[in-house]
Amino acid sequence: MKMAKRIVSLMLALVMVLAMAACGKGKTLGGESVDNEGNTVITFAGWGSLAEKKIFTSMIDEFEKTHPGVKVNYQHIPGSQEDYLVKLTSLLAANKMPDVFYIHSDEFYSWVDAGRLENLTPYMQASEVAANTTVWEKSLNIFRYDSATHQVGVESGDLYGLPKDLGPWAMVYNKTLFEANGIPLPDPEVPMTWSEFVEVCKKLTSGKGVNKVFGTANYTLESAVWSNGADFLNKDHTQVTVDTPEFAEAMQWVADLALVHGVSPTAAEDSASGWFTRWCNGKVGMAWMGPWDQATFWDSVSFEWDIMPTPVSDKTGKGVTWLASAALCVSKDSKQKQLAYELAEFLSMNVEAQKYNYEAGQAVPNIVDMAKNDYLAMDKAPANKQVFLNIIEDAEKGQFKPTYYTKNTTWFTYFYSESSKVWNGDMTAAEFVKEIQPKMQERLDEGK
């Protein structure tokens, strides 16, 4: 009897996950929230490091000063982006959506297409702050959505999120290591070709085992693929196009950095110690970074570093990398949409808030003038900050990730998990992409 009960309860524990989600369906719990002192309360949820939490807390303090009688309840959700999303989904199911919350560009499509986000265009048109502020065009376009065609990233669309920041993924090099090896520093404007890149990597690579110094690490596959003139999906994002010779060639080139040239950690070495740790320990010549890494690098690396243009494929002469962003979105169910918009706008566009954010090494400013003047003039690394701005401004240099354009991202995670066959040399890229394409396509179709 005891056993039977145990079995049943264990079984039920499993169903609990679903039950919890079901709990909140039904009535709306919200209403206009007012605290004991009569202040209007709006809630704001986001993820991020403790450093980011500190910055946002200060920015929110500033917002409260400009809005007497308003209190912002900042729910910082610790852990990864994935954890955050689970939490946000639970809040949604419980009808307890925060008024303002982050949505990563990879998730934007699902959320906007499900009608969970408020259209911010009317608020923006009525806003004086917005009228007087110029932010990066791409940083707004990434959060546009056309409800008639169900497409994201189109200029005809309305705005459903304000950029928290726009993150260009740029190649970074260890200046000290270059100088120690007598290698000329990468040109701030003229990119290396892939073959030049491999040669430089070979010169940078030395040592063995735990102390091995690698020329590069974690070469971004998206960059190699795009630079080689290939892509993951076709133009209207309905067909998986990984089974092209250009794609296979780019993927093989990345794999060979480790397998043939030995200038990048192998899959085994990488799982032992991630590229980020290796880089921070000065054991990698060239890697990748986003502006959010600046603060960490200022504080905890003991070498000099700078960023460089994305290496270009010998065949195409193009060097492309990805851009990602998180939006500050307003919930469709918010009871205080105007106020929520103002908070989002403040965090996205307020001069002081933006200044604070870039000075803390978290981001490139959203405000174009500030980025092009104050940020470029800042005397902290990287020196070639223009590289970041080029990726943002030039459509040939920076693209949104393939997962941004699809609602369901499992077609990509599937590819990613299976791709270790290529990274560890069990399969050639050409064989792999032939095998994986139909399976990816199946998952992509299912997600519609």
Partner: protein
């Protein structure tokens, strides 16, 4: 024969007390479990997308799709593979229990140490072991390098090793709990039986082989049942330490469920997976109960 009256009055009040005693658990069960079980069964037959709020009845479509997905079968295969840890853990726990059942100094301290992992948070353990298993800097491979002179395996990066790593971790974590159950079992073996062996001229090995081990069969049964149920629901270690693992080598059924529900927002399919898993667990458990009649000693003969 029985009269209605004073005698049955006592009966009735006893029954009332009995009902009162089971009322709380019964209420908890109906309010918190039964309703939601029914709800999730219904939802498993809808296209419930938590983000879009759709909720259309689609019959058994979810079940069909899940059963046709090779990834589901792969994750079920992985889950079953990981249960190799159950017999391994039982043997080790038995050895430990036998060792700690003797009179010795510091017995309590050892018991506490072995039991500690069972009461430590999954996340803390997982984070700790991620470092221990680190192929380059991990203490495990340092020891292997010292002893064998060769670098140790890539515990977390090699698709073939990932499962072994997870099994090792599971065995270590479960050891304390299983050991405790075995200890309790050992102490329940009647002393008279050992005396019989003495009288018959048997030695310590005979005592172990013919008294201790057979008398413990109800405990094995309990450990196996709970172990299998727990094993089929494996998720935490995978989620924190390995993720999906290279080539989905660490994807378990619950991980599959998680992916359906929380990254695809397809709660309908997630409910279907939950029900498939529940039915599977129920079937496996029933089979074990049926088979138990053959080998579990219940004191009736």
């Amino acid at each position: 024969m029985k009269k209605k009256g004073t005698a049955s009055k006592l009966r009735r009040s006893e029954r009332r007390a009995g009902l009162a005693f089971i009322a709380p658990i019964f209420l908890q069960f109906t309010v918190f479990f039964l309703f939601f079980m029914g709800y999730s069964l219904y939802m498993s037959m809808t296209d419930w997308n938590i983000l879009e709020g759709t909720e259309n009845f689609i019959g058994l479509e979810n079940f069909k799709k899940v059963l046709e997905d090779p990834l589901f079968w792969k994750s079920l295969g992985n889950t079953i593979y990981l249960m190799i840890g159950i017999p391994v853990g039982m043997i080790l726990a038995m050895l430990l229990a036998l060792a700690l059942n003797r009179k010795m100094r510091g017995k309590t301290i050892y018991r506490v140490i072995v039991y500690l992992p069972a009461v430590t948070s999954t996340v803390a353990i997982a984070l700790l072991w991620r470092w221990i298993f680190n192929a380059e800097y991990g203490i495990l491979n340092m020891i292997i390098q010292q002893i064998t002179g060769k670098p140790g395996p890539n515990w977390l990066g090699d698709p073939a090793m990932v499962k072994i790593t997870l099994i090792l971790l599971g065995v270590w974590r479960g050891l304390g709990n299983t050991m405790l159950l075995f200890l309790a079992g050992l102490q329940n073996v009647p002393k008279e039986y050992y005396e019989v062996v003495d009288v018959a001229g048997g030695n310590a090995w005979h005592k172990l082989r013919y008294v201790t081990l057979p008398m413990m069969s109800p405990t094995y049964f309990y450990v196996i049942i709970t172990g299998v149920i727990g094993g089929l629901q494996a998720f935490g270690d995978q989620f924190i330490i390995t993720g999906l693992g290279p080539e989905h080598s660490a994807m378990t059924v619950v991980y599959y469920l998680y992916q359906k529900g929380f990254t695809e927002y397809n709660m309908g399919a997630a409910c279907a997976v939950a029900w498939l898993l529940s039915l599977f667990i129920m079937a496996v458990t029933l089979i074990q109960f049926k088979m138990s009649k053959r080998w579990v000693y219940d004191g009736s003969h």
